[in-house]
């Protein structure tokens, strides 16, 4: 699960990570109120207004309707903060991570301006090859770490947390001194990294990035930006974190799928797919493409799907106006073919079917499943195997 920068910063602050003073706002007048509060506390008029969307590259990104404007702006005074919030809120911001359609800005973060002496990078992520969590640090703060890794990998330092003991402070010291920091800044950076590591482990992060981590001209160390992703499988034990989900950032069809326990991802093509199992679902997309078609979605109905979930899946697929045909590809294991067949028949009776349907069934209870479909009077085309099915649905939709 992704959360916004302002939410990530609030969480990290509770673990002792220093962040700039500020707050989020959903209206221009709220933005002005936050700005006044920050100015009163700090005695400085310089503020930063940051668009809050679930995507990186906001500073370099541009608003669709206001192409001169990027998603991160420095302003002077509360009135200017209000005006800037007005320009950003409700507008679509396009960055290299949002795709050309961009994302609508529903919130801005207003923060004190910071006099930066040094920009650094600190990140934490699972090292899949080792099955352990790695902490990374780099002197190349403010640039994307993938770019640094590709061009100057020697500028990234890395330590691995041994899960049998867990995080221990020398790991943070090794990184902080390795970054060339000295004196109080080295100590403050070590403490910040330790706080980040504690938050990562206690709250089940799947990714954390502080980019940049800055040393101010006054010698303070703070997180100027923060990105945190959470392990969706662990949200059951962090209900307060689960409540931070911003559903407006998600595709409505994908959200509906998630609520039904289905794994659904919308794509741009015209052939809807319903498949059991993630690997088979990806392969079904691949084989549709190889047959000359374009998949409209990825959909894994899972191993334990019931007939009503299958019906829900069917409705989600058919609600996409781009869908010109549907390919159901099932290899039953836990998922039994008769259950899928019943779900398809139920959905058809409820929502009707205006497009061609090709069904390939194999595996557990396959005879029963085929019988249910044959007896239903549904106008469908049976496929002998997945290649045959892909071929048929592509022909029927052309």
């Amino acid at each position: 699960m992704k959360i916004h920068e302002y939410q990530a910063k609030e969480i990290l602050q509770t673990f002792g990570v220093a962040i700039p003073m500020g707050g989020a706002a959903v209206t221009a007048s709220e933005a002005e109120t936050v700005a006044r509060m920050v100015i009163a506390e700090t005695g400085h008029e310089t503020l930063v207004v940051k668009a809050q969307i679930h995507a990186g590259g906001r500073g370099k990104g541009r608003f669709a309707a206001d192409p001169e404007l990027g998603g991160v702006q420095v302003v002077q005074g509360a009135a200017a903060a209000r005006q800037m919030a007005e320009r950003m809120l409700g507008q679509v911001l396009v960055t290299h991570q949002t795709g050309p359609e961009g994302k609508q800005v529903g919130r801005v973060l207003i923060e004190q301006g910071i006099d930066i002496a040094t920009e650094l990078y600190v990140g934490m992520v699972l090292d899949r090859a080792q099955g352990r969590v790695a902490i990374m640090a780099s002197t190349e703060g403010g640039t994307e770490i993938e770019e640094v890794a590709a061009k100057t990998p020697e500028k990234i330092q890395r330590v691995i947390i041994d899960p049998r003991y867990g995080f221990t402070p020398y790991l943070a010291r090794q990184l902080a001194y390795g970054l060339g920091l000295t004196g109080p800044a080295a100590k403050a950076a070590s403490a910040l990294i330790a706080s980040l590591a504690r938050a990562y482990q206690e709250l089940d992060f799947s990714l954390a990035e502080i980019n940049p981590l800055v040393v101010t001209t006054a010698g303070d160390v703070l997180a100027l930006d923060a990105k945190v992703n959470l392990d969706s499988n662990a949200l059951f034990r962090h209900p307060d974190i689960a409540a931070l989900r911003d559903e407006t950032e998600e595709d409505p069809a994908e959200l509906e799928g998630k609520k039904r326990g289905l794994s659904f991802i919308k794509l741009d093509g015209s052939i809807g797919c319903m498949v059991n199992g993630a690997g088979l679902a990806m392969s079904t997309m691949d084989i549709i493409k190889q047959a000359g078609g374009e998949p409209a979605n990825f959909l894994d109905v899972g191993g334990g799907a019931k007939a009503d979930q299958v019906a829900a899946a069917f409705k989600i697929i058919t609600s996409d106006p781009n869908v010109k045909g549907i390919f159901i590809n099932i290899f039953g294991g836990i998922m039994q073919c008769d259950v899928i067949a019943e779900g398809v028949v139920t959905a058809f009776r409820e929502v009707g079917l205006g497009v061609p349907l090709v069904v390939r069934l194999e595996g557990t209870n396959v005879e029963e499943g085929r019988r249910i479909l044959a007896d239903s009077g549904l106008d469908l085309v049976a496929a002998a195997d997945m290649a045959d099915g892909a071929q048929k649905i592509v022909e029927l939709t052309q």
Partner: protein, 292 residues
């Protein structure tokens, strides 16, 4: 004719009294597996499908000498169940459960490993040595005893592959679904090594997918260490970047883990890669014939 499980395997089912555990216990018994015990806290003394149930794994192992376990415990207790089995001395632990928090596995797997347990999964269909033993949820009838080893990150795509092999007359020594999570007990490389050492396995079919670099590591292992023919397929050639494709581990992140990169690495290692998922069996046959 197998690795890791055979006709002498004595299986324990953790959470045998749950709906899924009960269903698959009956299936595994029907498929010829020696299911000797079940565990479920508070259900000790009961029996499921004629299999005696104990409250704890330690008790079940002490009473029955079970040496393998299959876990159907819900995700919040998945890692705990794994540790319970490992500390009870179970040698092979198959975690079927999907959705175990990643950091739970990061912490539990090295402990299980230090205790000498071989872990398969989580989020996997299990392991089957056709004609001998099935510890998993796969439809058994598609398998046929033989000498092809099958390794896969997927469930149903493995069934697809096995079905294709069987239809081509290529039987299997052992088929293992290693699981779709980012952190798993038995990565490709370890399974490949076991197949290379198994005298009854003559060729290996490997099914990968987008995300991570396990296929690239497998390719390097095949190039350096393996003498047996290997064929492969990679799912997700059309998957968009940044989206998790069902499996927690199936995501192209920061431009890494694409199908194209993996296919290139596999081909450079001399592996026959099927372009289409309909040609996995054919690719295996081709790899075997190339060596003759």
């Amino acid at each position: 004719m197998s690795i890791w499980c055979d006709k002498n395997t004595r299986l324990l089912v953790q959470n045998i009294t749950g709906r899924t555990g009960r269903f698959h216990t009956a299936r595994m018994i029907a498929d010829g597996t020696k299911v000797v015990a079940g565990s479920a806290p508070g259900k000790g003394g009961q029996a499921v499908e004629g299999v005696p149930v104990w409250n704890t794994v330690a008790e079940a192992v002490a009473e029955t000498d079970a040496n393998a376990s299959i876990i159907f415990v819900p995700a919040p207790g998945g890692a705990d169940a794994l540790l319970e089995a490992a500390f009870a001395g179970v040698e092979l632990i198959v975690v079927i459960t999907e959705g175990v928090p990643t950091l739970d596995m990061v912490r539990a797997l090295p402990v299980a490993r230090d205790l000498g347990a071989r872990v398969i999964g989580p989020n996997c269909p299990g392991i089957v040595s056709p004609g001998q033993c099935k510890i998993g949820i796969m439809p058994y009838y598609i398998h046929k005893p033989g000498s092809v080893g099958v390794i896969s990150r997927s469930g149903t795509l493995t069934y697809e592959a096995v079905d294709q092999l069987t239809r081509l007359g290529l039987g299997q020594s052992t088929c293992i679904g290693i699981g779709g999570d980012p952190v798993i007990g038995s990565p490709f490389v370890e399974v490949l090594a076991a197949f290379e050492d198994d005298p009854d396995t003559s060729a290996v079919l490997m099914i990968g997918e987008i995300g991570g670099s396990a296929e690239e590591e497998a390719a390097a292992f095949v190039a350096d260490e393996m003498t047996k023919p290997v064929a492969a397929f990679i799912a997700g050639q059309t998957a968009p970047p940044g989206k998790r494709m069902g499996h927690a581990g199936a995501i192209i992140a920061g431009g890494k883990g694409t199908a194209a990169d993996k296919i290139t690495a596999l081909r450079e290692a001399g592996i026959v890669v099927a372009q289409s998922p309909a040609e996995m069996g054919v690719a295996m046959k081709q790899a075997i014939e190339q060596r003759k």
